[in-house]
């Protein structure tokens, strides 16, 4: 297993390099000029020139890239062009926020999606299956931002049960964290629950057809034990893969939900950075996201091994 982890880490290096080159190039192809944004409404040409020189934007692109790479390799990710805040500080501020949100969303998604998927598979073709399908289809088709705004209007503005926005870390105040994370996590989780439900259902159907399940039933095991201990355990592999991928997606892809609930997360950081042509921040954040995806994939592989003893050799 350690060999696998080491292997993956070595392969990760060229991947990360490629990602940074790509992001660097894409940003420079994008129309717009960070200095025009920075020079303010007056856009004084003398100020523009001075800034261009100060930030090294008058250098050829490869030189700019190498300069950035050199700094990154020495641990200096630079500072935001827009606010002067160090990129690492920004990542450090936003990443825990998004991780908390992602974990909570995934828990909600699993709590809804997996039991529903199992139920739908076991009661295939009955009204239970139909209801589960309808619920999952609506979960997939209701846009996050819409559900978010409706929840805010109903739960926060009308009923005043939960705050409409903000974020509290679970480390600072668990109750406060629950209050602020519940709605956004539910919005994100409900969409993911649908995906999880459908995958759980098909994985379970796949497994329930197999001989060993019939054998288990034939030898008189309780249906509950057959389903949970025998069938579900084997159906778990694709669900774990999906969950880790979903988790990776949540890290960078929760932008709309973060926007609606004004959660200072990772997704919002990168979208704002792109709009402001804040090159350093975009590069730093994308690098971190790439690392996160690689780590998540690795986690998926390790989990496989733990779930499936056959892979442990």
């Amino acid at each position: 297993m350690w060999k696998l982890i080491l292997n993956r880490l070595v392969v990760a290096i060229p991947t990360l390099f490629l990602v940074t080159v790509l992001v660097f190039a894409l940003q420079r192809v994008m129309p717009g000029d960070p200095l025009l944004v920075m020079a303010g409404e007056e856009r004084d040409p003398a100020v523009l020139e001075e800034l261009r020189h100060h930030y090294g934007f008058d250098q050829p692109l490869p030189i700019q890239f190498l300069a950035w790479l050199r700094e990154v390799l020495t641990g200096n990710f630079g500072a935001s062009l827009r606010t002067g805040e160090p990129v690492l500080k920004l990542v450090g501020q936003t990443l825990p926020v998004t991780i908390q949100l992602a974990v909570a969303s995934l828990l909600i998604a699993a709590a809804i999606g997996i039991p529903m998927g199992i139920l739908a598979a076991v009661r295939k073709g009955t009204w239970v299956d139909a209801v589960a399908n309808v619920v999952s289809l609506s979960g997939l088709s209701i846009p996050n931002f819409w559900l978010g705004i409706i929840l805010i209007l109903v739960v926060a503005v009308q009923l005043r049960w939960l705050p409409a926005s903000g974020f509290v870390s679970v480390l600072d105040d668990p109750a406060g964290a629950l209050r602020t994370t519940l709605m956004p996590a539910f919005v994100l989780g409900s969409g993911l629950a649908a995906t999880l439900m459908r995958h759980t259902r098909s994985a379970m159907l796949e497994v329930l057809r197999l001989d060993y399940v019939r054998t288990a039933r034939a030898k008189g095991l309780m249906p509950r034990a057959v389903i949970l201990k025998h069938a579900f355990r084997n159906a778990l592999a694709p669900i774990v893969t999906l969950s880790t991928l979903l988790f990776g997606q949540l890290l960078a892809g929760a932008v709309l939900t973060e926007q609606v609930f004004t959660i200072p997360g990772f997704g919002k950081l990168i979208v704002d950075a792109v709009f402001n042509r804040d090159y350093g921040v975009v590069q730093g954040v994308v690098l971190c996201t790439a690392v996160a995806f690689i780590v998540m994939n690795l986690v998926a592989d390790v989990l496989y091994i733990l779930i499936n003893p056959r892979l442990r050799t």
Partner: protein, 508 residues
């Protein structure tokens, strides 16, 4: 298909989420003396010498002191400078400073500190204040409470610059480290923390000279870009006030007894900037024939635009100076729409139909506005192609001359010079139309050297008369600032500069 299906799932969801609510129902404790203000954007760098955003200025008004301030009638009032005099035929500006003031770090705010700030603003590599202070030749400090600015030439715009970021004061001790992440000023509230895109927190500075009028322990600026969500946060009690309420939300906010809405015409304008001479894209009837531009202007019903797109909340106008400004010409008024005359002008110019492309920022309201303009102008014979572009790219195209017309505006300055000079004078830094007219140059340059308001106004009127004929920029309206406040907030005074002045404000 999805709509009927989503209905049952909705109630299903309510059931699922009902249980955890019971756990967290406990009411959130409110800090009695916090003022929580919802901002539409995240401010940029918190260094007044480098900053450039509107919302940043709102934060600076709580965080930093400046030499002078303006009141609701755009008259200058004392802040750190208690009085000022113009001498030496307008080439010296002397300030008397408030004695005994200190920065948040305890450093005394005296003449030396003011000098250090002005010099940083004039010379620092990344300063954005250089052009605002370019008439200053030297800063002298005859004694600890006197600062004398020696000017290269007369400059009647300077005091207005010093009433904004160019006149804001940082502790000189903080210059060695990056200022933005930890600004040290002397304002009524001092910096606590910033989480980018989320919040900026300030706490009361007990040693402030105006501390008796500051009634909050903390000021929390919360960044909430979506206008609907910002209003929802005010309604649910997560905010005490917000800036820039959407005109479409005014009606519902006014109907809410727990809220109040305050508005005032701002300092800026919105209009259409037309490419007259900036690269080959300026070729064509719109850029080359003023009669075509006059026809376009006549085809627009500015009042109807305001009613349809902005619920009648802005101020229709054909001049760059806002109603609050002493330089606004009351007599000019807003001409009525005249399609027949517009058609006649087009005909006289030799055209039945004029087609051009108009750049528009890609927001919903901007596109609505553009479509109304498009429809009105079409009746006079214009075929406007709307090109929606993201704002930063749109500005870049405009600077580069790759446009025919842009639907764009200006946030506005206290001094009239800031709303006109650089846009239309030959070689002006933001003269993207590349308009050039010797008479306009002369009048606008002369206006910079006249301190007497009536005489200065005559120069602007002379320039505007020519500009209204040539129309390099077609003014449409002055946007209003609209705030929504919890009815618990007392003492807020609307100001045309859109700032929030905390002095005297309190929570009931």
């Amino acid at each position: 298909m999805t709509t009927p299906r989503s209905a049952p799932s909705w109630s299903c969801r309510s059931l699922l989420i009902a249980a955890p609510f019971a756990v967290v129902l406990a009411a959130s404790p409110l800090m009695a003396a916090d003022l929580r203000i919802g901002l539409q954007e995240d401010p940029d760098i918190l260094d007044p010498h480098e900053a450039r955003t509107f919302v940043g200025r709102i934060v600076f008004n709580a965080l930093c002191d400046k030499l002078v301030d303006t009141d609701a009638k755009l008259q200058f009032v004392p802040r750190i400078a208690t009085s000022w005099t113009v001498a030496d035929e307008g080439k010296t500006l002397a300030f008397k400073l408030r004695p005994g003031v200190t920065f948040h770090d305890g450093t005394p705010l005296d003449a030396t500190a003011v000098k250090a700030n002005l010099e940083r603003a004039m010379t620092a590599k990344t300063s954005r204040r250089k052009s605002e202070l370019k008439s200053v030749a030297a800063v002298e400090t005859p004694d600890a409470t006197t600062v004398v600015l020696k000017l290269k030439q007369k400059d009647s715009t300077l005091l207005a610059q010093l009433s904004d970021r160019a006149g804001m004061l940082l502790s000189p001790k903080s210059f060695d480290k990056p200022v933005g992440p930890n600004p040290v000023c002397s304002g009524p509230y001092s910096f606590v923390e910033r989480v980018q895109n989320d919040r900026i927190v300030l706490k009361k500075f007990a040693g402030h000279w105006d501390a008796a009028n500051q009634h909050f322990d903390r000021i929390v600026f919360r960044i909430i870009p979506d206008t609907t969500v910002r209003l929802a946060n005010l309604r649910s009690g997560q905010l005490d006030m917000l800036e820039r309420l959407a005109p479409t939300d005014v009606k519902s906010a006014k109907a809410d007894a727990a809220l109040k809405v305050v508005s005032i015409a701002g300092l800026g304008y919105q209009g259409i900037t037309i490419n007259l001479n900036n690269t080959a894209r300026s070729e064509g009837p719109l850029g080359k024939d003023r009669r075509v531009r006059q026809a376009l202007s006549l085809s627009l019903d500015r009042k109807a635009i305001n009613d349809v797109v902005f619920e009648g909340l802005n101020t229709p106008s054909i001049q760059p100076f806002p109603p609050a400004s002493p330089f606004h010409e009351q007599a000019v008024g807003v001409p009525a729409r005249d399609v027949a005359k517009a058609k006649a002008l087009l005909k006289a110019a030799g055209h039945e139909k004029v087609t051009f492309e108009m750049q528009v920022a890609n927001s919903t309201v901007e596109q609505q506005l553009a479509q109304v303009i498009q429809a009105m102008a079409a009746e006079a014979g214009f075929d406007i192609k709307i090109k929606a572009t993201e704002f930063a790219s749109m500005l870049k195209q405009q600077s580069a001359g790759n446009y025919q017309a842009t639907r764009v505006g200006w946030s506005g300055r206290v001094d009239p010079d800031g709303n006109i000079h650089q846009f239309v004078t030959t070689g002006g830094g933001i003269n993207d139309t590349k308009y050039t007219n010797a008479d306009v140059d002369r009048e606008l340059n002369a206006a910079r050297t006249v301190y007497d308001i009536a005489k200065r106004k005559a120069h602007y009127a002379a320039a505007m008369k020519i500009l209204r004929d040539d129309l390099p920029i077609m003014y449409l309206y002055h946007p209003s600032w609209i705030w929504a406040l919890s009815s618990k907030v007392d003492g807020f005074v609307a100001n045309p500069d859109g700032m929030i002045r905390l002095s005297g404000m309190k929570l009931k």
